[in-house]
């Protein structure tokens, strides 16, 4: 109710401001990836608090909607959670963060690395005991993410799986729930945002992050772009950014929003300004 009322008030004030805003270039619309949207909303909130006359509207609808809306001029900025394709070179991307996920096991598990094929076999239920992978005789508990989560999407995309192929024993929502589930179950395997996992591991939670394709799973490795199970989070625009659009993109790429990126368990790109260990809450 309160939310509806609040949004009604926002809508009303938006309508009232419309004439002024359009004349003044003081309103900004972002549409696209639901992965980026929560982060973009936080950045927009901070930008608005610094520029009280600016109104920023963030809408979800997936990366392809972000591309389309930006092309059609329906949105000033599109949010796209992948690199641009060769057919999309009419748009210009500005990377604001990286998203990386790590495979986690219980600390007591003897397994130190898994190949992509082994992970697929585990998640599709073909391998259901750690004994087959040279570890203790223990049934595997597969921990999967709930439908709609961006980590699930990235995981499925990387391993070319469909969610209906996965045979999970536990389905979780938040990263923290996944870490607690794996920490409490010696036979569990799960995947969570690397930032959260690294933070918890440093606190002594009995989990371990597995390397992927020979690359260690750390925030630093994701920031450098070496870690494979990761993707770019981009803001895209059609024309050369000017005025408000340019200011907002500069703001989103600046050091002023690093804490917001980290709070959403994403990784700020170009590791010079971020130290591992501050990741997480």
């Amino acid at each position: 109710m309160i939310k509806a009322l609040a949004s009604a008030i926002v809508l009303l004030s938006a309508v009232l401001n419309l004439a002024l805003a359009q004349a003044d270039n003081r309103q900004l619309t972002l549409t696209g990836s639901s992965t980026i949207a929560p982060l973009a909303m936080e950045i927009a909130k901070r930008y608005e608090s610094q520029h009280p006359d600016v109104r920023i509207d963030v809408q979800m609808g997936g990366s392809s909607r972000g591309i389309n809306d930006t092309r059609m001029g329906l949105a000033d900025i599109g949010m796209v959670s992948r690199p641009l394709k060769s057919t999309e070179q009419d748009l210009t991307p500005f990377q604001i963060a990286m998203d990386g996920i790590g495979i986690i096991l219980h600390k007591s598990n003897a397994v130190t690395a898994l190949s992509d094929a082994q992970i697929i076999d585990i998640y599709t239920g073909k391998i259901n005991n750690w004994q087959k992978l040279g570890a203790a005789d223990l049934p595997i508990t597969v921990v999967n993410k709930a439908e709609g989560r961006s980590t699930l999407e990235l995981f499925l995309h990387y391993f070319s799986l469909k969610n209906s192929q996965i045979k999970a024993q536990v389905v979780i929502g938040e990263n923290q729930q996944g870490i607690k589930t794996v920490a409490g179950n010696p036979g569990a395997i799960g995947y969570v945002s690397i930032g959260t996992a690294e933070y918890e591991q440093a606190l002594g939670t009995p989990i371990k992050l597995l390397p992927m394709a020979g690359q260690v799973a750390t925030v630093a490795s994701v920031a450098q772009g070496a870690y494979p199970l990761s993707r770019q989070l981009n803001l895209v625009v059609k024309a050369k950014p000017e005025g408000l659009v340019k200011n907002f993109i500069n703001f989103a790429q600046s050091a002023e929003v690093k804490d917001l990126i980290v709070a959403q368990f994403f990784v700020a790109p170009f590791s010079n300004s971020i130290k591992s260990g501050v990741a997480g809450e």
Partner: protein, 296 residues
């Protein structure tokens, strides 16, 4: 005894005020239902168009992003978790109430009642956290994966136990003293008094407490979400993970769009109707019982 005639200015004003408050409550409920209907409408309309809307009730697979919207396993899981918790909590709660009311010394009864009140006041997220970090690993060491129907039932039992115990105790306390005097005059033993006089006389109070507990169990979200495992499948065993309707909404709402989002509102509507059906049923039971007492 009471009549409705209002012949006093102050009374009239109060009457008006109360009328506004009462209709605001009713209006709020109506708005919530309308909101649920409105938000879930696109889902029902689309399913009606492609002729798959009945799959909601018998479909076995829930992959909303692949357009499979079977809610049957989650409906059954919700019912299984609720029934399991009530079946466990009813004897425990009723036993506690009888002990509290008839056997405990006054000092003991006071501390026991305090204990139950504390148990009733613990937030559900604390129960969930305890379940996730203590109960689930315990079950895991016995029967992996641990997060299961059993874990959900046990956590819920703890949560609804104080509700049942406290309402039953107050129902037993409000049984007319004449019945006690009469049963004593007949020379009945304590256990026959309780079994054959007090429990039947307090039945409607006890059943409304059980209803309250059932509604809480059915609607509980966070604690169940943390311990039940949340795999969409029929509740086929105590050690199998299950996903209940409320947990499904909480898990997926934040990131759902389009039909997926509307389907979550549809499951919310379904849950509301389940609770209504339950309270209507309980209302009937209580009324039938009262009539039987009056005319029997």
């Amino acid at each position: 005894m009471f009549n409705n005639s209002i012949n006093n200015q102050a009374d009239r004003r109060l009457n008006f005020l109360l009328l506004i408050v009462a209709s605001a409550t009713g209006l709020l409920l109506a708005i919530i239902i309308l909101f649920l209907l409105n938000e879930s409408w696109p889902f029902f309309a689309n399913r009606w168009r492609d002729g798959t809307w009945l799959q909601l009730f018998y479909g076995q697979s829930w992959y909303p992003l692949e357009s499979q919207f079977g809610m049957a396993p989650m409906i059954l899981s919700s019912l299984a978790v609720t029934v399991g918790a009530v079946v466990l909590a009813l004897p425990l709660g009723l036993g506690s109430a009888i002990y509290l009311q008839f056997y405990a010394s006054p000092r003991w009864a006071q501390s026991f009642r305090l204990l139950l009140n504390v148990l009733a006041g613990i937030p559900s997220v604390v129960f969930g956290l305890w379940g996730l970090t203590r109960l689930v690993p315990l079950i895991t060491s016995w029967q992996p994966p641990g997060a299961s129907l059993l874990a959900a039932i046990l956590v819920l039992t703890l949560m609804i136990l104080p509700t049942i115990a406290l309402t039953s105790a107050s129902a037993l306390a409000s049984v007319p003293r004449e019945l006690l005097a009469g049963s004593m005059a007949l020379g009945l033993r304590r256990n026959s008094q309780i079994l054959h006089i007090f429990l039947p006389a307090a039945r409607s109070g006890i059943s409304s407490g059980v209803l309250l507990a059932t509604a809480r169990a059915l609607g509980e979200t966070l604690a169940v979400l943390m311990v039940a495992g949340n795999v969409v499948q029929n509740p086929s065993g105590l050690f199998e993970p299950v996903r209940v309707l409320t947990a499904n909404i909480a898990l997926e709402m934040a990131y759902a769009m389009g039909d997926h989002r509307a389907s979550l509102f549809a499951s919310g509507l379904l849950l509301t109707m389940l609770v209504w059906l339950l309270s209507w049923f309980a209302h009937r039971v209580v009324r039938a019982h009262k009539q039987a007492l009056q005319y029997g």
